[in-house]
Symmetry: C2
Subunit: 249 residues, 2 copies
């Protein structure tokens, strides 16, 4: 179904766990992960800091709101969404998380998660207990860990810039461009964007209505700029998308 992003081959829920030493060497996110600069002995020590690698199916929760924030996660494969619920009951799809991204860090501010994170496809994620952060620094994973944190910050800033753009086409184009950059960094084909989320979620995330998003995608499809698949979008003429998103850094 989703040939672009690595997906979990296991099929069960929370109880499945893999030791990182088994998998870091062959991890699809190796090049962007904390483990990038490590080898041999250091990888073994890293294993002590990553207590479980969780395997999730579509709609499985990685963590839910008000769970204790004693751990954060790195996406290994698949796609996740983070949802925040306001006191008024509104839901906001704050982030989509692709492989190599750090998830759930903000829980350290209050000790509890302030959002829920859900798998949109069959996915895997590495769990890092925050009490082990110090150890990760001392075994030489500090640079890579800082880079993960910094990239999360960088992603947010790009998101914010994109949301400041009021034109719907610009926002959607910006979202596509940012996603293409992520895919390129991961070594995947950037012209096929895996979009396992619903239109509703995507519209919510972009601060647009479902109708507006639908209209723009329809327009681009008719113009031959994109090709809409069931759960992905193929970019046929990247230049036109790029010119709509010139506002991004």
């Amino acid at each position: 179904m989703n040939m672009v992003l690595p997906t979990a081959s296991g099929r069960s829920g929370d109880s499945t766990s893999i030791t990182p030493t088994d998998h870091c060497a062959v991890c699809p996110t190796r090049q962007v992960c904390t483990a990038r600069d490590l080898d041999g002995e250091l990888l073994d020590r890293l294993a002590e800091c990553i207590d479980t690698t969780r395997v999730l199916q579509r709609n499985d929760l990685l963590y839910r709101i008000s769970d204790p924030g004693d751990a954060c996660y790195v996406v290994r494969s698949g796609v996740f969404k983070s949802v925040t619920v306001t006191p008024a009951g509104e839901e906001y799809v704050t982030r989509f998380h692709y492989p190599g991204e750090l998830v759930g860090l903000s829980a350290q501010a209050t000790g509890k998660h302030t959002d829920s994170t859900v798998a949109l496809t069959a996915s895997t994620a590495c769990r890092i207990q925050t009490r082990d952060f110090g150890r990760l620094f001392t075994i030489g994973a500090d640079n890579a860990l800082l880079r993960l944190i910094a990239e999360a910050d960088d992603n947010s800033r790009n998101l914010e810039i994109n949301l400041r753009q009021s034109r719907a086409e610009a926002r959607i184009a910006g979202f596509f461009i940012l996603l293409m950059r992520k895919l390129t960094r991961l070594g995947y084909d950037p012209s096929v964007l895996p979009l396992p989320m619903s239109r509703t979620d995507l519209a919510n995330h972009l601060g647009l209505t479902l109708e507006c998003l639908s209209r723009v995608l329809g327009k681009w499809k008719r113009a031959g700029v994109i090709k809409l698949e069931k759960s992905s979008v193929e970019i046929l003429r990247q230049a036109e998308i790029a010119t709509l998103a010139i506002h991004l850094p």
Copy 2:
């Protein structure tokens, strides 16, 4: 002039430096800073990790775009703005930084700063070299440092949620509410918001036009909801602002 936020008493630029041990004990951000949980001997060790406390005047640069990203900063006093410039030449005021906030972390992703950060008032900031992060973890500042990072992430998410709201009044109200929360956390009077930035910068930050911002503030002023000062806003009827910002978590 600005009685609300602590400002630097020194008057010179980059060359002034204060050792943290002199100042952490009396730092206005003590309660929200990395140093919060430390005392005596640990504070001394912290001193080795914070190489200079910089004193800046209005319009002084904390760092500029493409500076080496070997350090980040914690605001001690005053207010900063971060500006990103797009290839197309557009400027985006991505963040405003108040005391206790971590600044410049995203540079770790690429090794260079991707934005410039400027003091909006007389300000001070602690410089933390990233190569010292590991040491901060080992001397017991890990929880506090993680909290700073997590709060930065939390701030971004709140910002993003606020920008998803398309109504101008809701966005401005949301900005005010978020700022009031920050001031409350710092122990300041949350009803007087220090806004040392220009209207242009604020509008840019909120993804609105100058005119739109001006109209909303004028409307609220006429309605007696706020009182506009030269570089601050007094919230007279908080309830009305809060109802406009119910979309925030």
